[in-house]
Symmetry: C2
Subunit: 229 residues, 2 copies
DNA sequence: ACCTGAACACCGTTCAAGT
DNA sequence: ACCTGAACACCGTTCAAGT
């Protein structure tokens, strides 16, 4: 894992790339200033020459992911014009999801930032462009942005087990546990029994499979379509 | 803030109550084992007699909040039977929101738990009871649970500024900043200008006002109603 | 300009020891 | 049964100092 041959001097960019790689490989909790420095073959204090501190490192990581999303979205824009507004937003959100699938630590990290990263504003401005062009009022467009929640960034922000050990209600749930569950949680037990095959794809968080993501997305898009001015 | 007169011996419950009070008063980042112990007039190591460790303390806090929601919801159930399924879920989610408004640290904390708290299962079983009674299939009911996201627990999980300093896009946004913004974010700037009055109620996170919450909720409920079997 | 050593003020946690 | 002191292995960060 340690790359000793790196004698190009450190830079903000190199630090961020190494940090993303470390988070991808070992999770965000392994991302400490000391550990990251060791990964770069350097002392922890050296990082402070390139970044003001740890918060700024995490902000940088978030912007890094947002940059990937921005790139993926603008690759889309070439072909997307003239389509239905729903199809345009749909493929943008799904492109963002592709990026997020490669950085499972990103959703959790985004939730901890105190300021809105700059890249988000430009991205949201693009969403508004599409919606206003389709005839939505500012009021509905504004509410739509809130209603979308985290979908524009490609993840359904599940309440529990954001990226970690995975709740007990997954595909591994055994027959015995379901039987025990049936006593005090009858409906949930019956639903798990009926839906057990849907739980086999733990990509981003608890049951956030592609199917669930698209269902929620279309539910919102279709609902908004009926409110279009 | 320090209560010295407490000579009743510590207990798990007293520790949790003190922890919730500390988080309410100074935020979750002030909640360290050492600080909490000091608040209880005791040494940090004493806490380990009542709790296995910090993670378990945080789990306990989450269950504490879920307990409040459960109590509020069962107070509702007496009067709610016989109503439309949407009205039933609606008042449950709004009751949960009341609880969350008193514990602004709870949404963020819930996001960091690795296992699904037990109280959630019973709560979700109740939601299923309502939906199945209204004629929904297991499949749609399952997808509905995912689509709801964090709404059942009373908060719209906004992507940024969960409970902290508040993004720059709030009611304090000045005329000059909006003018500057208009250059590269034309739609966003126009929307803020048109909607500035809606941004004055920072309750849970960025723009998560009662109005936004209910808009999203009804959008989902009405969308699901059309899929009812 | 770029990196480092030593030190500071914190963490959570273990463990043997006190009463 | 309940609490503590001392110690360990970590954090992020400052600052004066090295090259």
């Amino acid at each position: 894992m340690k790359v000793k041959a790196s004698r190009a001097p450190l830079s903000r960019e190199r630090v961020l790339v190494a940090a993303a790689a470390l988070a991808d490989a070992e999770g965000v909790q392994a991302l400490t200033m000391r550990r990251l420095a060791a990964e770069l073959g350097v002392e922890a204090m050296s990082l402070y020459y390139h970044l003001p501190g740890k918060e700024s490192l995490l902000d940088g990581l978030v912007e890094h992911v947002l940059g990937e999303i921005g790139a993926a979205v603008s690759r889309l824009d070439a072909t997307a014009n003239g389509q239905d507004w729903r199809a345009q937003l749909r493929q943008r959100f799904l492109a963002a999801r592709e990026v997020m699938l490669h950085h499972p630590w990103a959703p959790g990290l985004i939730g901890t930032r105190s300021a809105v990263p700059a890249g988000v504003y430009t991205y949201y401005d693009g969403i508004l462009d599409t919606m206003l062009g389709a005839g939505f009022s500012y009021r509905i467009a504004h509410r739509a942005l809130h209603a979308f929640g985290s979908l524009p960034l490609g993840f359904a922000q599940e309440v529990f087990s954001p990226t970690s050990a995975g709740g007990s209600l997954d595909a591994q749930t055994g027959e015995a546990e379901i039987a025990e569950m049936a006593n005090h949680l009858p409906h949930l037990a019956a639903m798990v029994a009926a839906e057990i095959h849907n739980l086999a794809d733990p990509t981003l968080g608890w049951c956030d499979s592609q199917t669930e993501f698209e269902f929620t997305l279309d539910l919102l898009l279709d609902g908004l379509e009926r409110l279009r001015g």
